[in-house]
Protein backbone atom coordinates (compact mmCIF):
# COMPACT_ATOMS: atom_id res chain seq x y z
CA UNK A 1 0.00 0.00 0.00
CA UNK A 2 2.67 2.46 1.00
CA UNK A 3 4.84 1.24 -1.80
CA UNK A 4 2.13 1.89 -4.32
CA UNK A 5 1.58 5.39 -3.11
CA UNK A 6 5.22 6.31 -3.14
CA UNK A 7 5.67 4.83 -6.54
CA UNK A 8 2.78 6.78 -7.86
CA UNK A 9 4.05 9.95 -6.29
CA UNK A 10 7.47 9.31 -7.70
CA UNK A 11 5.99 9.32 -11.12
CA UNK A 12 4.70 12.80 -10.69
CA UNK A 13 2.79 13.76 -13.70
CA UNK A 14 3.09 17.13 -15.25
CA UNK A 15 0.67 18.40 -17.80
CA UNK A 16 2.41 19.10 -21.00
CA UNK A 17 1.67 19.28 -24.65
CA UNK A 18 2.41 16.01 -26.21
CA UNK A 19 5.42 15.98 -28.42
CA UNK A 20 4.48 12.81 -30.17
CA UNK A 21 1.64 12.14 -32.61
CA UNK A 22 0.70 13.95 -35.80
CA UNK A 23 0.99 17.70 -35.58
CA UNK A 24 -2.43 18.30 -37.05
CA UNK A 25 -4.22 16.01 -34.68
CA UNK A 26 -6.70 17.51 -32.29
CA UNK A 27 -4.91 15.24 -29.87
CA UNK A 28 -1.80 17.29 -30.25
CA UNK A 29 -3.58 20.32 -28.87
CA UNK A 30 -4.80 18.47 -25.84
CA UNK A 31 -2.84 18.18 -22.66
CA UNK A 32 -1.47 14.70 -22.32
CA UNK A 33 -0.33 13.17 -19.14
CA UNK A 34 3.34 12.34 -19.13
CA UNK A 35 4.04 8.77 -18.25
CA UNK A 36 5.56 8.19 -14.86
CA UNK A 37 9.02 6.96 -15.63
CA UNK A 38 9.89 5.32 -12.37
CA UNK A 39 6.62 3.68 -11.59
CA UNK A 40 7.08 0.79 -9.25
CA UNK A 41 4.43 -1.41 -7.84
CA UNK A 42 4.03 -4.30 -5.52
CA UNK A 43 4.96 -7.47 -7.33
CA UNK A 44 2.04 -9.44 -8.63
CA UNK A 45 -0.36 -6.50 -8.57
CA UNK A 46 -2.30 -5.45 -11.62
CA UNK A 47 -0.37 -2.21 -11.62
CA UNK A 48 2.96 -4.03 -11.63
CA UNK A 49 1.90 -6.27 -14.47
CA UNK A 50 0.65 -3.42 -16.59
CA UNK A 51 3.55 -1.20 -15.75
CA UNK A 52 5.98 -3.91 -16.72
CA UNK A 53 4.16 -4.67 -19.93
CA UNK A 54 4.23 -0.99 -20.77
CA UNK A 55 0.90 -1.23 -22.48
CA UNK A 56 -2.74 -1.81 -21.63
CA UNK A 57 -6.16 -2.35 -23.15
CA UNK A 58 -8.97 0.03 -22.25
CA UNK A 59 -12.63 -0.12 -23.16
CA UNK A 60 -14.49 3.04 -23.99
CA UNK A 61 -17.32 4.25 -26.18
CA UNK A 62 -16.46 5.10 -29.74
CA UNK A 63 -19.70 6.89 -30.44
CA UNK A 64 -20.26 9.23 -27.54
CA UNK A 65 -19.28 12.80 -28.40
CA UNK A 66 -17.64 14.57 -25.50
CA UNK A 67 -16.79 11.33 -23.72
CA UNK A 68 -15.51 8.73 -26.13
CA UNK A 69 -15.75 9.38 -29.83
CA UNK A 70 -13.49 7.92 -32.45
CA UNK A 71 -13.22 9.99 -35.57
CA UNK A 72 -10.91 9.41 -38.49
CA UNK A 73 -8.08 8.99 -36.05
CA UNK A 74 -7.35 5.56 -34.53
CA UNK A 75 -7.47 7.00 -31.02
CA UNK A 76 -10.80 8.08 -29.61
CA UNK A 77 -11.12 11.31 -27.68
CA UNK A 78 -13.34 12.66 -24.98
CA UNK A 79 -13.50 13.05 -21.22
CA UNK A 80 -13.51 9.30 -20.59
CA UNK A 81 -10.51 8.86 -22.85
CA UNK A 82 -8.58 11.63 -21.09
CA UNK A 83 -9.31 10.12 -17.67
CA UNK A 84 -8.17 6.70 -18.88
CA UNK A 85 -5.01 8.16 -20.38
CA UNK A 86 -4.19 9.83 -17.08
CA UNK A 87 -4.54 6.59 -15.16
CA UNK A 88 -2.41 4.77 -17.74
CA UNK A 89 0.23 7.46 -17.39
CA UNK A 90 0.33 6.81 -13.67
CA UNK A 91 1.36 3.27 -14.59
CA UNK A 92 4.10 4.53 -16.80
CA UNK A 93 2.17 3.74 -19.96
CA UNK A 94 2.35 6.23 -22.75
CA UNK A 95 -0.81 7.29 -24.57
CA UNK A 96 0.26 5.55 -27.76
CA UNK A 97 0.70 2.25 -25.90
CA UNK A 98 -2.97 2.09 -25.06
CA UNK A 99 -5.10 -0.27 -27.08
CA UNK A 100 -8.66 1.04 -27.29
CA UNK A 101 -11.55 -1.38 -27.47
CA UNK A 102 -15.05 -0.25 -28.26
CA UNK A 103 -17.34 -1.10 -25.38
CA UNK A 104 -21.02 -0.58 -26.04
CA UNK A 105 -23.27 -0.49 -22.97
CA UNK A 106 -24.45 -4.06 -23.32
CA UNK A 107 -20.96 -5.54 -23.51
CA UNK A 108 -19.08 -3.73 -20.81
CA UNK A 109 -19.34 -6.32 -18.01
CA UNK A 110 -18.50 -9.16 -20.37
CA UNK A 111 -15.39 -7.42 -21.67
CA UNK A 112 -14.15 -7.05 -18.09
CA UNK A 113 -15.13 -10.50 -16.87
CA UNK A 114 -13.56 -12.18 -19.91
CA UNK A 115 -10.35 -10.25 -19.41
CA UNK A 116 -10.56 -8.63 -22.85
CA UNK A 117 -9.82 -5.24 -21.32
CA UNK A 118 -7.89 -4.05 -18.29
CA UNK A 119 -10.49 -1.42 -17.48
CA UNK A 120 -13.57 0.25 -18.88
CA UNK A 121 -14.09 4.00 -18.87
CA UNK A 122 -17.28 4.37 -20.87
CA UNK A 123 -20.06 6.55 -19.39
CA UNK A 124 -20.49 3.63 -17.03
CA UNK A 125 -23.12 4.20 -14.36
CA UNK A 126 -22.33 2.59 -11.02
CA UNK A 127 -25.12 0.35 -9.78
CA UNK A 128 -25.54 -2.64 -7.53
CA UNK A 129 -26.49 -5.03 -10.26
CA UNK A 130 -23.27 -4.37 -12.15
CA UNK A 131 -21.30 -4.60 -8.92
CA UNK A 132 -22.27 -8.27 -8.76
CA UNK A 133 -19.94 -8.97 -11.68
CA UNK A 134 -17.31 -6.24 -11.59
CA UNK A 135 -15.73 -3.65 -9.33
CA UNK A 136 -16.06 0.09 -9.84
CA UNK A 137 -13.42 2.65 -9.05
CA UNK A 138 -14.53 6.25 -8.85
CA UNK A 139 -16.98 7.76 -9.45
CA UNK A 140 -15.00 10.23 -11.52
CA UNK A 141 -18.07 12.09 -12.76
CA UNK A 142 -21.75 12.42 -11.94
CA UNK A 143 -23.90 12.62 -15.00
CA UNK A 144 -27.49 13.73 -14.69
CA UNK A 145 -30.64 14.37 -16.58
CA UNK A 146 -30.83 17.71 -18.30
CA UNK A 147 -32.95 19.40 -20.94
CA UNK A 148 -31.95 20.23 -24.49
CA UNK A 149 -33.75 22.91 -26.50
CA UNK A 150 -33.19 24.74 -29.74
CA UNK A 151 -30.34 27.19 -29.55
CA UNK A 152 -32.57 30.23 -30.07
CA UNK A 153 -35.35 29.10 -27.72
CA UNK A 154 -35.54 30.87 -24.37
CA UNK A 155 -38.94 29.59 -23.19
CA UNK A 156 -37.53 26.75 -21.17
CA UNK A 157 -34.50 27.27 -19.01
CA UNK A 158 -34.95 24.29 -16.72
CA UNK A 159 -37.42 21.57 -15.75
CA UNK A 160 -39.30 24.01 -13.47
CA UNK A 161 -40.45 25.98 -16.52
CA UNK A 162 -42.43 23.07 -17.94
CA UNK A 163 -45.43 23.49 -15.64
CA UNK A 164 -45.73 27.15 -16.53
CA UNK A 165 -45.69 26.36 -20.24
CA UNK A 166 -48.21 23.55 -20.71
CA UNK A 167 -48.03 23.89 -24.51
CA UNK A 168 -44.41 22.87 -24.49
CA UNK A 169 -43.89 19.22 -25.41
CA UNK A 170 -40.89 17.39 -24.11
CA UNK A 171 -39.58 14.21 -25.70
CA UNK A 172 -37.85 11.18 -24.28
CA UNK A 173 -37.61 7.46 -24.93
CA UNK A 174 -40.69 5.32 -24.31
CA UNK A 175 -40.47 3.55 -20.97
CA UNK A 176 -37.10 5.07 -20.07
CA UNK A 177 -36.02 6.32 -16.65
CA UNK A 178 -35.59 9.90 -17.91
CA UNK A 179 -39.16 9.83 -19.24
CA UNK A 180 -40.28 8.74 -15.77
CA UNK A 181 -38.16 11.34 -13.97
CA UNK A 182 -39.57 14.27 -15.95
CA UNK A 183 -43.18 13.46 -15.09
CA UNK A 184 -43.17 15.31 -11.79
CA UNK A 185 -42.24 18.52 -13.63
CA UNK A 186 -45.13 18.36 -16.11
CA UNK A 187 -48.41 20.23 -16.05
CA UNK A 188 -50.10 17.21 -17.64
CA UNK A 189 -48.94 13.82 -18.92
CA UNK A 190 -49.79 14.98 -22.43
CA UNK A 191 -46.74 17.22 -22.34
CA UNK A 192 -44.60 14.12 -22.59
CA UNK A 193 -43.99 12.73 -26.06
CA UNK A 194 -42.18 9.44 -26.34
CA UNK A 195 -40.37 7.64 -29.13
CA UNK A 196 -38.36 4.45 -29.29
CA UNK A 197 -34.99 6.18 -29.73
CA UNK A 198 -33.53 9.58 -28.92
CA UNK A 199 -32.72 10.23 -32.56
CA UNK A 200 -36.47 10.48 -33.18
CA UNK A 201 -36.82 12.97 -30.34
CA UNK A 202 -34.05 15.07 -31.82
CA UNK A 203 -35.65 14.99 -35.28
CA UNK A 204 -38.93 16.14 -33.76
CA UNK A 205 -37.13 18.90 -31.89
CA UNK A 206 -35.83 20.10 -35.24
CA UNK A 207 -39.32 19.68 -36.76
CA UNK A 208 -40.84 21.82 -34.05
CA UNK A 209 -43.13 19.01 -32.94
CA UNK A 210 -41.51 19.08 -29.51
CA UNK A 211 -39.73 21.99 -27.85
CA UNK A 212 -37.41 20.04 -25.60
CA UNK A 213 -35.67 16.70 -25.26
CA UNK A 214 -34.63 15.25 -21.94
CA UNK A 215 -32.23 12.50 -20.90
CA UNK A 216 -28.76 12.20 -19.40
CA UNK A 217 -26.65 15.25 -20.15
CA UNK A 218 -24.00 12.97 -21.60
CA UNK A 219 -26.31 11.85 -24.40
CA UNK A 220 -27.56 15.37 -24.94
CA UNK A 221 -24.00 16.66 -25.20
CA UNK A 222 -23.59 14.18 -28.02
CA UNK A 223 -26.51 15.68 -29.91
CA UNK A 224 -25.38 19.23 -29.29
CA UNK A 225 -22.00 18.21 -30.68
CA UNK A 226 -23.37 16.40 -33.72
CA UNK A 227 -25.73 19.21 -34.67
CA UNK A 228 -23.38 22.09 -34.36
CA UNK A 229 -25.07 25.34 -33.47
CA UNK A 230 -28.63 23.98 -33.43
CA UNK A 231 -29.19 22.97 -29.82
CA UNK A 232 -28.13 23.84 -26.30
CA UNK A 233 -28.51 22.39 -22.83
CA UNK A 234 -30.48 24.36 -20.29
CA UNK A 235 -30.93 24.22 -16.53
CA UNK A 236 -29.22 22.14 -13.92
CA UNK A 237 -28.85 18.43 -13.81
CA UNK A 238 -31.79 17.14 -11.83
CA UNK A 239 -30.78 13.53 -11.34
CA UNK A 240 -27.50 11.83 -10.43
CA UNK A 241 -25.82 9.08 -12.40
CA UNK A 242 -22.35 8.40 -11.00
CA UNK A 243 -19.88 7.16 -13.62
CA UNK A 244 -17.29 4.69 -12.48
CA UNK A 245 -14.32 2.89 -13.96
CA UNK A 246 -14.99 -0.80 -14.35
CA UNK A 247 -12.30 -3.30 -13.41
CA UNK A 248 -12.07 -6.96 -12.60
CA UNK A 249 -14.20 -7.85 -9.59
CA UNK A 250 -12.34 -7.79 -6.32
CA UNK A 251 -9.16 -6.07 -7.52
CA UNK A 252 -9.20 -3.69 -4.59
CA UNK A 253 -5.61 -2.61 -4.98
CA UNK A 254 -6.17 -1.52 -8.57
CA UNK A 255 -9.37 0.24 -7.53
CA UNK A 256 -7.53 2.19 -4.86
CA UNK A 257 -4.76 3.03 -7.26
CA UNK A 258 -7.30 4.43 -9.72
CA UNK A 259 -9.01 6.45 -7.03
CA UNK A 260 -5.73 7.95 -5.95
CA UNK A 261 -4.92 8.77 -9.55
CA UNK A 262 -8.28 10.51 -9.90
CA UNK A 263 -7.65 12.62 -6.82
CA UNK A 264 -4.30 13.56 -8.18
CA UNK A 265 -5.76 14.51 -11.52
CA UNK A 266 -8.15 16.80 -9.72
CA UNK A 267 -5.44 18.34 -7.61
CA UNK A 268 -3.24 19.03 -10.57
CA UNK A 269 -6.03 20.67 -12.52
CA UNK A 270 -5.83 18.01 -15.21
CA UNK A 271 -9.40 16.94 -14.43
CA UNK A 272 -10.95 20.35 -15.03
CA UNK A 273 -8.76 21.04 -18.04
CA UNK A 274 -9.71 17.73 -19.62
CA UNK A 275 -13.41 18.43 -19.05
CA UNK A 276 -13.28 21.88 -20.57
CA UNK A 277 -11.61 20.59 -23.71
CA UNK A 278 -14.00 17.71 -24.21
CA UNK A 279 -17.60 17.50 -22.94
CA UNK A 280 -17.31 20.93 -21.36
CA UNK A 281 -16.88 22.57 -24.73
CA UNK A 282 -20.65 22.58 -25.29
CA UNK A 283 -23.08 25.23 -24.15
CA UNK A 284 -25.03 24.51 -21.02
CA UNK A 285 -22.75 21.88 -19.52
CA UNK A 286 -21.61 22.40 -15.94
CA UNK A 287 -17.97 22.15 -14.98
CA UNK A 288 -17.87 19.21 -12.59
CA UNK A 289 -15.82 18.66 -9.50
CA UNK A 290 -14.42 15.26 -8.80
CA UNK A 291 -17.20 13.61 -6.83
CA UNK A 292 -16.62 11.95 -3.50
CA UNK A 293 -15.08 8.60 -4.26
CA UNK A 294 -16.67 5.41 -3.09
CA UNK A 295 -14.50 3.21 -0.91
CA UNK A 296 -13.05 0.23 -2.73
CA UNK A 297 -14.66 -2.73 -1.06
Amino acid sequence: MRLIRSAALAGAVALALSACGGGEDIEAEAPEPVAAEEAEFEAGSTMAELSEAGEMTIGTKFDQPGFGLRGLDETPDGFDVRIAQYIAAQLGIEADKIKWVESPSSQREDLIVNGDVDMVVATYTINDKRKERITFAGPYYVAGQQIMVKKDDSTISGPEDLKANPDVKICSVTGSTPAENIREYLASPDQLVTFEVYDDCVTQLENGQVQAVTTDNVILVGYVAENEGKFKLVGEQFTEEPYGIGIEKGDTAFCEFINESLEKAAEEGYYEEAWKETAGAYEGTEVPELPELEPCA
Binding site: T174, G175, E180, T194, F195, Q204, Q209
Partner: protein
Amino acid sequence: MEFLTEHFDDFVNGFFRSLSIALWGAVGSLLLGTLLAVFRVSPIPVLQGFGAAYVTLVRNTPLTVLLFGMAFGVPGLGINASFYLFGVVTLILYTAAFVCEAIRSGIATVPIGQAEAARAIGLTFGQSLGLVILPQAMRSVVPPVGSVIIAMIKNSAVVGAAGVGSDLFSVYKRMTSALGYAPLPVLTAVAVAFLIMTLSTGALLALAERRMAVAR
Protein backbone atom coordinates in the same frame (compact mmCIF):
# COMPACT_ATOMS: atom_id res chain seq x y z
CA MET B 1 -51.05 -7.44 -10.59
CA GLU B 2 -49.97 -4.73 -8.09
CA PHE B 3 -49.39 -2.28 -10.94
CA LEU B 4 -53.16 -2.15 -11.39
CA THR B 5 -53.67 -0.84 -7.88
CA GLU B 6 -50.58 1.33 -7.89
CA HIS B 7 -51.10 2.84 -11.33
CA PHE B 8 -54.79 2.36 -11.91
CA ASP B 9 -55.26 5.97 -13.02
CA ASP B 10 -52.52 5.75 -15.62
CA PHE B 11 -53.95 2.53 -16.86
CA VAL B 12 -57.49 3.89 -17.12
CA ASN B 13 -56.15 7.01 -18.84
CA GLY B 14 -54.28 4.83 -21.29
CA PHE B 15 -57.44 2.87 -21.95
CA PHE B 16 -59.48 5.97 -22.71
CA ARG B 17 -56.69 7.41 -24.80
CA SER B 18 -56.54 4.23 -26.89
CA LEU B 19 -60.33 4.08 -26.99
CA SER B 20 -60.58 7.62 -28.36
CA ILE B 21 -57.94 6.82 -31.00
CA ALA B 22 -59.95 3.76 -31.99
CA LEU B 23 -63.30 5.57 -31.97
CA TRP B 24 -62.15 8.48 -34.11
CA GLY B 25 -60.34 6.01 -36.30
CA ALA B 26 -63.53 4.01 -36.79
CA VAL B 27 -65.76 7.01 -37.49
CA GLY B 28 -63.24 8.62 -39.82
CA SER B 29 -62.33 5.49 -41.74
CA LEU B 30 -65.97 4.52 -42.23
CA LEU B 31 -66.76 7.93 -43.69
CA LEU B 32 -63.65 8.17 -45.84
CA GLY B 33 -63.88 4.53 -46.86
CA THR B 34 -67.48 4.99 -47.97
CA LEU B 35 -66.56 8.09 -49.93
CA LEU B 36 -63.74 6.21 -51.63
CA ALA B 37 -66.10 3.35 -52.47
CA VAL B 38 -68.52 5.88 -53.98
CA PHE B 39 -65.64 7.25 -56.04
CA ARG B 40 -64.78 3.78 -57.25
CA VAL B 41 -68.29 2.97 -58.46
CA SER B 42 -69.06 6.48 -59.73
CA PRO B 43 -69.51 7.12 -63.46
CA ILE B 44 -66.79 9.80 -63.37
CA PRO B 45 -63.44 8.43 -64.59
CA VAL B 46 -61.31 10.89 -62.59
CA LEU B 47 -62.94 9.83 -59.34
CA GLN B 48 -62.72 6.15 -60.27
CA GLY B 49 -59.02 6.58 -61.00
CA PHE B 50 -58.41 8.45 -57.78
CA GLY B 51 -60.22 5.80 -55.74
CA ALA B 52 -58.34 2.96 -57.37
CA ALA B 53 -54.96 4.68 -57.05
CA TYR B 54 -55.59 5.55 -53.41
CA VAL B 55 -56.55 2.01 -52.49
CA THR B 56 -53.62 0.49 -54.36
CA LEU B 57 -51.12 2.86 -52.81
CA VAL B 58 -52.36 2.87 -49.23
CA ARG B 59 -53.37 -0.76 -48.96
CA ASN B 60 -49.93 -1.89 -50.06
CA THR B 61 -47.98 0.34 -47.68
CA PRO B 62 -47.19 -0.90 -44.17
CA LEU B 63 -49.04 1.04 -41.49
CA THR B 64 -45.86 1.89 -39.63
CA VAL B 65 -44.39 3.43 -42.77
CA LEU B 66 -47.47 5.63 -43.13
CA LEU B 67 -47.41 6.43 -39.45
CA PHE B 68 -43.81 7.52 -39.32
CA GLY B 69 -44.16 9.22 -42.69
CA MET B 70 -46.91 11.25 -41.10
CA ALA B 71 -45.19 11.86 -37.75
CA PHE B 72 -41.84 12.78 -39.28
CA GLY B 73 -42.52 13.71 -42.89
CA VAL B 74 -45.39 16.12 -42.42
CA PRO B 75 -43.72 18.21 -39.69
CA GLY B 76 -40.66 18.23 -41.92
CA LEU B 77 -42.81 20.12 -44.43
CA GLY B 78 -43.52 22.72 -41.79
CA ILE B 79 -46.94 21.43 -40.77
CA ASN B 80 -47.20 20.90 -37.04
CA ALA B 81 -49.96 19.17 -35.15
CA SER B 82 -50.21 16.89 -32.16
CA PHE B 83 -48.93 13.35 -32.52
CA TYR B 84 -52.34 12.19 -31.39
CA LEU B 85 -53.89 13.89 -34.40
CA PHE B 86 -51.21 12.53 -36.74
CA GLY B 87 -51.83 9.07 -35.34
CA VAL B 88 -55.59 9.22 -35.73
CA VAL B 89 -55.35 10.66 -39.25
CA THR B 90 -52.91 7.96 -40.29
CA LEU B 91 -55.16 5.29 -38.89
CA ILE B 92 -58.12 6.75 -40.80
CA LEU B 93 -56.19 7.08 -44.08
CA TYR B 94 -54.91 3.53 -43.79
CA THR B 95 -58.11 1.83 -42.68
CA ALA B 96 -60.27 3.72 -45.19
CA ALA B 97 -58.62 1.81 -48.05
CA PHE B 98 -59.78 -1.48 -46.54
CA VAL B 99 -63.22 -0.12 -45.66
CA CYS B 100 -63.54 1.06 -49.26
CA GLU B 101 -62.85 -2.39 -50.64
CA ALA B 102 -65.17 -4.08 -48.17
CA ILE B 103 -67.97 -1.70 -49.11
CA ARG B 104 -67.23 -2.11 -52.78
CA SER B 105 -67.52 -5.86 -52.43
CA GLY B 106 -70.84 -5.26 -50.68
CA ILE B 107 -72.04 -3.03 -53.50
CA ALA B 108 -71.21 -5.83 -55.91
CA THR B 109 -73.63 -8.12 -54.07
CA VAL B 110 -76.56 -5.80 -54.81
CA PRO B 111 -78.20 -6.96 -58.04
CA ILE B 112 -77.64 -4.64 -60.98
CA GLY B 113 -81.40 -4.45 -61.44
CA GLN B 114 -81.67 -2.42 -58.23
CA ALA B 115 -79.46 0.29 -59.67
CA GLU B 116 -81.34 0.19 -62.97
CA ALA B 117 -84.69 0.49 -61.22
CA ALA B 118 -83.37 3.41 -59.18
CA ARG B 119 -82.14 5.17 -62.27
CA ALA B 120 -85.35 4.36 -64.09
CA ILE B 121 -87.45 6.28 -61.57
CA GLY B 122 -85.26 9.31 -62.08
CA LEU B 123 -82.89 9.10 -59.13
CA THR B 124 -79.50 10.68 -59.66
CA PHE B 125 -76.31 8.68 -59.20
CA GLY B 126 -75.92 9.97 -55.66
CA GLN B 127 -79.53 9.20 -54.79
CA SER B 128 -79.39 5.70 -56.26
CA LEU B 129 -76.27 5.00 -54.28
CA GLY B 130 -77.42 6.57 -51.05
CA LEU B 131 -81.07 5.48 -51.08
CA VAL B 132 -80.97 2.14 -52.85
CA ILE B 133 -77.53 0.59 -53.31
CA LEU B 134 -75.64 1.37 -50.10
CA PRO B 135 -78.50 0.54 -47.72
CA GLN B 136 -78.72 -2.88 -49.33
CA ALA B 137 -74.95 -3.27 -49.58
CA MET B 138 -74.63 -2.54 -45.85
CA ARG B 139 -76.17 -5.86 -44.95
CA SER B 140 -73.44 -7.84 -46.66
CA VAL B 141 -70.87 -5.18 -45.79
CA VAL B 142 -71.24 -5.44 -42.01
CA PRO B 143 -69.14 -8.58 -41.49
CA PRO B 144 -66.15 -7.61 -43.67
CA VAL B 145 -66.19 -3.97 -42.52
CA GLY B 146 -66.46 -5.24 -38.97
CA SER B 147 -63.30 -7.27 -39.44
CA VAL B 148 -61.56 -4.22 -40.85
CA ILE B 149 -62.61 -2.10 -37.86
CA ILE B 150 -61.54 -4.73 -35.34
CA ALA B 151 -58.19 -4.98 -37.11
CA MET B 152 -58.00 -1.20 -36.89
CA ILE B 153 -58.58 -1.22 -33.16
CA LYS B 154 -55.64 -3.57 -32.79
CA ASN B 155 -53.57 -1.50 -35.21
CA SER B 156 -54.27 1.53 -33.07
CA ALA B 157 -51.80 0.12 -30.55
CA VAL B 158 -49.05 0.97 -33.04
CA VAL B 159 -50.00 4.63 -33.02
CA GLY B 160 -48.53 4.93 -29.54
CA ALA B 161 -45.08 4.29 -30.96
CA ALA B 162 -45.20 7.54 -32.89
CA GLY B 163 -45.13 10.05 -30.09
CA VAL B 164 -48.53 9.52 -28.47
CA GLY B 165 -47.27 9.24 -24.93
CA SER B 166 -50.23 8.10 -22.88
CA ASP B 167 -52.03 5.32 -24.77
CA LEU B 168 -52.12 1.72 -23.61
CA PHE B 169 -49.00 0.77 -25.56
CA SER B 170 -47.01 3.55 -23.92
CA VAL B 171 -48.42 2.66 -20.52
CA TYR B 172 -47.25 -0.91 -21.09
CA LYS B 173 -43.74 0.22 -22.02
CA ARG B 174 -43.61 2.52 -19.05
CA MET B 175 -44.83 -0.07 -16.57
CA THR B 176 -42.43 -2.78 -17.71
CA SER B 177 -39.42 -0.69 -18.64
CA ALA B 178 -39.21 2.36 -16.41
CA LEU B 179 -41.21 1.07 -13.47
CA GLY B 180 -39.90 -2.47 -13.70
CA TYR B 181 -43.11 -4.50 -13.43
CA ALA B 182 -43.07 -8.00 -14.85
CA PRO B 183 -44.20 -7.87 -18.49
CA LEU B 184 -46.69 -10.73 -18.47
CA PRO B 185 -49.30 -9.34 -16.03
CA VAL B 186 -49.09 -5.89 -17.64
CA LEU B 187 -49.43 -7.37 -21.12
CA THR B 188 -52.37 -9.40 -19.93
CA ALA B 189 -54.08 -6.30 -18.61
CA VAL B 190 -53.41 -4.46 -21.90
CA ALA B 191 -54.76 -7.43 -23.83
CA VAL B 192 -57.90 -7.44 -21.67
CA ALA B 193 -58.34 -3.72 -22.30
CA PHE B 194 -58.13 -4.29 -26.04
CA LEU B 195 -60.47 -7.25 -25.73
CA ILE B 196 -63.02 -4.98 -24.07
CA MET B 197 -62.81 -2.73 -27.13
CA THR B 198 -62.83 -5.43 -29.77
CA LEU B 199 -65.44 -7.64 -28.14
CA SER B 200 -67.85 -4.76 -27.63
CA THR B 201 -67.28 -3.78 -31.27
CA GLY B 202 -68.03 -7.36 -32.24
CA ALA B 203 -71.23 -7.28 -30.18
CA LEU B 204 -72.32 -4.03 -31.82
CA LEU B 205 -71.64 -5.53 -35.24
CA ALA B 206 -73.65 -8.62 -34.45
CA LEU B 207 -76.51 -6.38 -33.37
CA ALA B 208 -76.24 -4.31 -36.53
CA GLU B 209 -76.20 -7.43 -38.65
CA ARG B 210 -79.30 -8.78 -36.97
CA ARG B 211 -81.21 -5.54 -37.39
CA MET B 212 -80.29 -5.32 -41.06
CA ALA B 213 -81.29 -8.90 -41.63
CA VAL B 214 -84.75 -8.12 -40.26
CA ALA B 215 -85.12 -5.06 -42.41
CA ARG B 216 -86.01 -6.69 -45.68
